[in-house]
Symmetry: C2
Subunit: 364 residues, 2 copies
């Protein structure tokens, strides 16, 4: 007895969970296709195992995915029967650091210098060309800082190759940045785009810990540059849904780092700080509904990730305008278990609330 | 693999659905015990049929209910093994118009004059005592205006008895009111109470159509009177969770009409207009978590019910700050299918948005 349309999600982690919570409100239903049985979204719709792909496709009206590591072959197979959004080209581009940087450059978006290397000899040559310091990364499947090595001295080259090499890598020139920013936008099936404000992100050990929305000391120039960049990427890829673009803020302007073809951790604040959150706008795009206002509901917002442990999250519920979002996952070091959103009328108030939250949950 | 606590809900309609959407964010899980197989909440947790009560009780950590018509015997049976909130006394009181009015009077809360009648002769006697016009109602199980008759002339008495009599009824003196208000509050396990603002409700054919939050032209006296009333009821009943109290605004002050021992349709606006919505605060109370701020996030909010048909709800998504909530139910005359919440900075703006929504969804 399905009344609403069914959105299929490849993956069933916290992103799928929060998409389902947002889309259920709009009358949609959800089904998940997952390769690991233990999931956080499985209370929100049926989960299909790897050998049940046809049943999954039968069930759904439109398909999206949680991860840029989703196999292209799977997307292509599903696309023959049901629409997949974002499309396979967007995914194919986003899942390879070389391809995405090439796209950025084609569109006139600044990136670090980079070279693809697939041997130690090629790596030495790339180091000679790009110079040190530089960052060596796997071209695919890196997230949360995994599969990365910073090369500062000639001595680091062999060690880094031994640790993450033996597969295709990318050497990127080191970008001297003042801070890390990201912009998230949603594009509808009809080509409308809404932009969330540019936000500032703090990572520790490659894992996002804190997002401030909007990024402090934001200029119109920065916002315009970021909006122009993400909008060029979305239009070029005929993108449908939410896209995140990670940027370095440097003395010479914005430099694009990478993109994520999905709802993004740096957009979680929007659940409580924006008129329409990123999860709802992703669902609206998939369902061919008008996009919602992505502007801020309060002047300031923040998101604090709960990593590895939850601390005394219960007591944070007493902090004015702190909202707790838990993923129903068992604690494990380095694991994203939830996040706390805070809104405030002034930046000073926001910082005060953040300190109160941090003390209680051992964050940062 | 249950990480979070499991909240059991008796019933699986839209109230259970919205409780589950709010509580899932807090890491809770949900299970439903239902007597009708077709439900709107069943995508959000396992549903147990009537003959699976023990399995339902085994599954859950705490139990609540969607309807004041939940059988007391069921609550008492469950209470022997798991806590039920609100408690059986609160439910027992709320499910009988005579008992709840007697409680109100005991606490000094104004009500209409009333008499319980169980025969045509007793009804004639009550009409002689209370006078006409008066309202004849079933003592139990009435909702959305069902089981009610307005008696204006002596001729109406027999007809009304024939229509809804043959069971215990209550005759209530007609209250000359200017408007219908309601107040919603949440009480924690430790006795803390938070109050939502007093709201104004418009009913058509006994079904709620529109809520304005806060009620226009609200005085401190009205607010204090309403808060004192609901707070006296909650304390007296050792109530845990969300309670709604429906009130008539008369030339002589507030007169209590009835209470609902549950989240309430006139509190749905809080999903988008309050810092913490009624569903989340009900879950927080059940889970022994600190209650959240029940104040308004924006100066004005409204809730428009979608009754019987959805109209062009899609286009309302383009109206500034209109948020659509659908229940995934098939259209049927008189059926509550969803609601649209609107927030605004001024009452004039709010009224403008309401007109835009009404045109698109044929509401009111």
């Amino acid at each position: 007895m399905s009344v609403g349309p069914v959105i299929g999600i490849i993956g069933a982690g916290q992103l799928g969970r929060m998409l389902a919570l947002a889309g259920t409100r709009l009358g949609a239903r959800f089904a998940f296709y997952e390769d690991v049985p233990s999931t956080t979204a499985h209370t929100l719709g049926p989960c299909f195992a790897q050998d049940q792909l046809d049943a999954f496709i039968d069930t759904v009206d439109v398909v999206t995915f949680e991860s840029e590591n989703t196999p292209i072959a799977l997307i292509e197979r599903i696309s023959q029967r049901k629409p997949v959004m974002p499309n396979a080209t967007a995914l194919f581009t986003a899942q390879h650091r070389g391809r995405e940087k090439t796209l950025f450059r084609t569109l006139g978006i600044e990136t670090a210098p980079f070279m693809i290397v697939d041997s130690l000899a090629a790596l030495h040559e790339a180091v000679a060309t790009i110079g040190l310091p530089a960052v060596l990364k796997t071209t695919t499947e890196g997230y949360d800082g995994k599969g990365q090595a910073v090369l500062r001295h000639a001595d680091d080259v062999l060690e880094a190759w031994q640790r993450i090499g033996g597969r295709e890598l990318i050497l990127e020139g080191f970008v001297q940045f003042n801070r890390e920013l990201s912009i998230i936008a949603a594009r509808s099936r009809t080509g409308d785009i809404v932009f969330y404000p540019l936000v500032e992100n703090t990572h520790i050990d490659g894992i996002l810990r804190l997002t401030l929305a909007p990024a402090p000391a934001l200029s119109n120039t920065l916002t315009q540059q970021a909006q122009a960049a993400i909008s060029a990427v979305m239009t070029k890829l005929d993108y449908v849904g939410v896209l995140a673009l990670e940027l370095f803020d440097t003395d010479h302007g914005l430099v694009a780092n990478e993109m994520a073809p999905r709802v993004h951790n740096s957009g979680h604040w929007s659940q409580d700080g924006a008129w329409t959150d990123q999860f709802e706008n992703h669902c609206r795009a998939l369902l061919d509904l008008p996009l919602g206002d992505a502007g801020m509901e309060e002047p300031c917002a923040a998101m604090i990730n709960l990593i590895g442990e939850l601390g005394d999250w219960q007591s944070t519920l007493s902090i004015p305008h702190a909202k707790v979002h838990l993923y129903d996952k068992a604690p494990r070091p380095g694991r994203k278990l939830g996040h706390i959103n805070i809104t405030a009328t002034t930046s000073d108030n926001l910082m005060g609330y953040i300190e109160q939250v941090k003390k209680r949950v051992n964050a940062l």
